[in-house]
């Protein structure tokens, strides 16, 4: 399909450190099945679960006063394939497709699939005013992302690092790194 470009990552090596990679581990990728990502993980003894939320642009309707749990139900239905808990969650830029209340619903439905040492990786925006382009990300290695620009409108809701930390209240932001309008964020379970 499209040829990827590659960019350095400042934080993937911290998410996937030797301590994690030396033993069997589990990864939840909320996006799609990336060519480079699967190739990278094939070098390790691990289980990777792909939710495909970015493949389908899965964006449930936001909760409303009449139905405050409709986004929860939509996510529960979509996340019904999760098995046990995960050591790493790769969110990519998916949260930036969701309105704040829908993002909170996603974070709440996801919570039982995490454990006290779960790590995460996500892209935030530098601020709410700057749009983020639609990109399909992958992992080439722990130093390098693969990026495939998508022929789609910019992301609907750009969340800052602080807003993501509020929504995923069980994570603390371990580090943030700036890269062309995107903030690369490492999350650690509290």
């Amino acid at each position: 399909m499209t040829t990827p470009v590659f960019e350095p990552s400042a934080l993937l090596a911290r998410v996937f450190d030797d301590k994690l990679l030396e033993r069997p581990f589990s990864v939840l990728d909320v996006g799609g099945a990336g060519v480079e990502t699967l190739e990278y993980f094939s070098s390790f003894s691990c289980r990777i679960t792909v939710l495909g939320l970015l493949d389908d642009r899965f964006v449930p309707e936001a909760p409303s006063e009449e139905d405050p749990y409709r986004a929860h139900r939509a996510f529960e239905s979509r996340l019904d394939i999760l098995q046990g808990t995960y050591d790493v969650c790769l969110f990519w830029d998916y949260p930036n497709y969701l309105s704040p209340p829908t993002l909170r619903a996603f974070a709440e439905v996801l919570a039982p699939s995490l454990h006290p040492r779960t790590r995460g990786h996500v892209f935030a925006g530098l601020n709410n005013r700057q749009g983020l382009p639609a990109i399909r990300y992958g992992i080439k290695n722990t130093e390098t992302f693969s990026l495939r620009p998508l022929n789609q409108p910019p992301l609907s809701y750009v969340h800052t690092q602080g807003e993501l930390a509020d929504a995923f209240h069980y994570f603390k932001v371990a580090r943030g790194s700036l890269r062309e309008g995107r903030v690369e964020v490492q999350l650690e379970h509290i």
Partner: protein
């Protein structure tokens, strides 16, 4: 005599031998030439358990299980397979809902759509393929790279 001769002419005592039929024309049911493939066509719907001793191409709809431990399975672009699948090499160009075990390899092409869990020494998901489920990786790639050359 004349009549005898005429009859003889009509029904020769030693008729010319008929050329032997091609092997395919007298093939015993169930036997296939090596490398042959069975095809479930696009309009065919099958419910039940499929097993076999030859490669299989599915273009139609299959519900149940598919088990071809020593042979390859291709799920064609028009196919819809709602089944747990086992085959030596599984190549998916259409839709599969179910768990897939590849003895050697699973390939989901760029137009393939899979919902289920994958298990194989090598899994290839082409860019554009749709996949939702889990993959068990056993570090095959790194073991292969680390293995000393014979």
């Amino acid at each position: 005599m004349a009549m005898f001769d005429k009859k003889k002419a009509e029904e020769p005592e030693n008729p010319a031998p008929v050329p032997a039929a091609e092997p395919a024309a007298v093939k015993t049911p169930g036997t296939r030439t090596p490398g042959s493939r069975a095809v479930i066509g696009a309009t065919i719907k099958v419910k039940g358990d499929l097993t076999g001793d030859e490669d299989l191409i599915i273009e139609g709809r299959v519900e149940g299980t598919v088990k071809l431990d020593k042979h390859d399975l291709t799920v064609g672009e028009s196919a819809s397979v709602h089944a747990n699948v086992t085959a030596k090499v599984v190549r998916i160009e259409g839709e599969v809902v179910g768990d897939i075990r590849g003895i050697e390899r699973i390939v989901i092409t760029q137009v393939g759509r899979v919902q289920g869990n994958l298990s194989a020494p090598r899994v290839v998901v082409e860019d554009g393929a749709k996949f939702r489920g889990s993959i068990e990786m056993d570090g095959f790639e790194s073991k292969a790279k680390a293995a000393p050359a014979a």
